[in-house]
Symmetry: C2
Subunit: 414 residues, 2 copies
């Protein structure tokens, strides 16, 4: 615990140095860290092997072992990620507004780093480098708490980055790793709001819930996506079928994949058989409501299905009699991540865009586009599903706050 | 508890109606509510009298009784507040950004209401009308939990506003009041994150701390201000003295009042006696560090003094040998609200603006300007002292979130 307190204090000192760094110095440090990761890859792979062996000894699933495993290529990928972040514009210092008041006071609203950011994540060790890169470029000190399964890998990666910062003459406390795998340390960390300005959990629904429940530090929730596509009465099937195929099957384990369809009754008779063929080619299991089952052969969908983010080759279908019913069904089961309508009717599109309560609302496009890179942000720390501070894909700007700089010549308040 | 659940569910339904209201309808409803408050003032005063009598019977202090008391003038003031909010521009629907992607997707970032906002506050009943006005104009449903001391007044005010909304044909669930004075109900309320998007506590440090500790709903902290003014070596005394006098004495019980001074040693010998005279005229007690005590007669300042928001006719003084020392002292004891430098040196001003970590950083002006009205926002729900979502004075825009509206013609992700 003493170590933890020292760590957050170090970060609180480091943040003052980091907020002053020029873009050029930050970019040079990011490139040096990238070089170091590639140069030290043997050491990182050796440490990663220890995690893999421990995982195998503990009967970890092949899927998890794969997420945990680093390779030469994956390390080069991490390094490449840091180099890309170096190429992005520095958000710090940007003037967002300027107000001149009648009394002559000049009020400038300027972008500043958040300060100290905590990231709590699960077993992918590449998050260690990614999170450092984004937090560092946006002028923040970061404290990482990775999964205990990846502890050796995370220690190696952090130590390589810290050495690179030291060589650049920049405080190595820009990135620190909580090495303890004791859960009480993590719990304590989440309550150090005096030192930590923001906590971002990255991982499954269970991790996120537990952080939200325990933290007194402001949290940005990321991740869960029970995304719908609504096929309207006026839908063009030549758009609907490829969009649904893409959103459901292009990558199944991600938060912006489609989990549920809503179909207007007017086109259901013609559309559902075509849909069944398209999804059948990918062996997607369809779970439909009663009316859907009257048209195509499928398993029955329960209330629970409509509320489930499958992350698998399964999709639920609800049939509706109107756009209003579709909107109300989606607003009921949505996790406020990404929702789409397929329609040729401009009024329907406009109503859907206005009335669906989600971070990203689509007309005639795949929900898979909800992504920092696809939005052109050049990077992404996660997809926020809450409404405060940042909503949807979070890039560098979303890791900043602002400050008012007010200049006068002796003004006093009357 | 059942009542509470019904209440948050009502708000979750109401938010969809409210987000669609035009500015014209909202303004008309605000004006009607203002008229109703004035028309029904006798009823409100009668209910307020019950609160006052209960307060007096419970030996409530005169200060608190005064905060609690409504008068004809104060009710007209509340109504005037609603009319002013009606005159402000509607933030909802504003386009914040538009991105056209290489694949033709159009991404619009648009301002939307937050949804359901909870406000937990202490005994001033005027907050009931103010909070409704701001939340309603920004398209949000609000659930109010006022102090139990003001329960009869709050019930009367809420009921008058709800009747006015009903007459306008707008859902009365735009504003609901938690009438239970049972603390366990408030605790339960703070954990209903599935229904409530944002919680804003308004009141003393104790209330705010308890909300932050207990809430799983995202909270915006408001309020505490341990504000400093640093008098630099190059300060113009004819600016420094009036600014300090204003910031300390114009209104002592507010969060943007000055609580502590930092004085550069180079001018201390000349400045402190003049300062003592200026503050002496207002009977302000000075608590100085050892070096200050060598120059003027004053009480000793302890560590605790430097960390205290007095909200009283008391001020602490720390003497420093450099700008750097001043910045580091302020960053140590600041509550990140409002901090000022008095200087004629442009480099010193710039360094102070950059390196002080606070919502509002001033050069040659009174910290008392940190206020939604003084910033030209036309309204204020509070001063945020945290860094996420909103920092400093919060007006209508700060009660909104955003949504991405994405329009395509069948795009899928490669």
């Amino acid at each position: 615990m003493e170590l933890l307190i020292r760590m957050v204090k170090n970060a609180s000192v480091a943040k003052y140095e980091l907020q002053k760094l020029s873009a050029a110095r930050k970019n040079q440090a990011l490139n040096r860290a990238a070089d170091a990761l590639v140069r030290e890859r043997e050491r990182i792979l050796t440490e990663n092997k220890k995690d893999i062996e421990r995982g195998e000894a503990n009967q970890m699933s092949q899927g998890l072992i794969d997420r945990l495993r680093l390779t030469d290529e994956r390390i080069r990928g991490m390094a490449g990620g840091l180099r890309e972040v170096a190429l992005l514009p520095d958000p710090v210092g940007e003037q967002l507004e300027e107000i001149i008041r009648p009394n002559g006071l000049k009020i400038e609203k300027c972008r500043v780093p958040v300060g100290v950011i905590g990231i709590i994540y699960e077993s992918r060790p590449n998050v260690t480098a990614d999170a450092f890169g984004l937090c560092f470029k946006s002028g923040n000190a970061v404290i990482l708490k990775g999964g205990s399964d990846a502890i050796c890998s995370n220690k190696a990666i952090t130590s390589v980055i810290r050495a690179a910062l030291r060589e650049e003459g920049i405080t190595e406390d820009a990135v620190q790793l909580i090495e303890s795998t004791d859960r009480s340390v993590t719990r304590e960390f989440m309550r150090l709001k005096e030192y930590v300005d923001l906590l971002i959990p990255r991982g499954g629904a269970g991790l996120i819930r537990s952080v939200v429940e325990s933290s007194t530090i402001p949290v940005i929730e990321t991740g869960t996506g029970n995304c719908h596509i609504y096929v309207d009465a006026s839908a063009d099937f030549s758009k609907a079928l490829p969009v649904i195929e893409n959103a459901k099957t292009q990558r199944i384990g991600v938060c912006n994949a489609c989990e549920s369809l809503v179909i207007h009754e007017a086109i259901a008779g013609k559309f559902l058989p075509e849909l069944a063929k398209t999804l059948g080619a990918h062996r997607v299991e369809i779970r439909g409501d009663d009316r859907t089952q009257e048209i195509i052969t499928c398993s029955p969908a329960t209330e629970e299905d409509f509320a489930t983010e499958y992350l698998d080759y399964i999709i639920s279908i609800k049939m509706v009699s109107s756009l209003e019913e579709a909107i109300s069904h989606i607003n009921r089961y949505s996790t406020r991540h990404s929702e789409a309508i397929i329609t040729e009717d401009k009024d329907a599109a406009e109503k859907f865009l206005n009335e669906i309560d989600a971070a990203c609302v689509y007309v005639n496009a795949s929900t898979r586009f909800t992504d920092g890179f696809e939005f052109g942000f050049g990077a992404e720390i996660g997809i926020s599903t809450q409404k405060l501070h940042a909503r949807g894909p979070m890039g560098l700007k979303e890791l900043t706050s602002y400050k008012y700089r007010i200049t006068g010549n002796g003004q006093i308040r009357a």
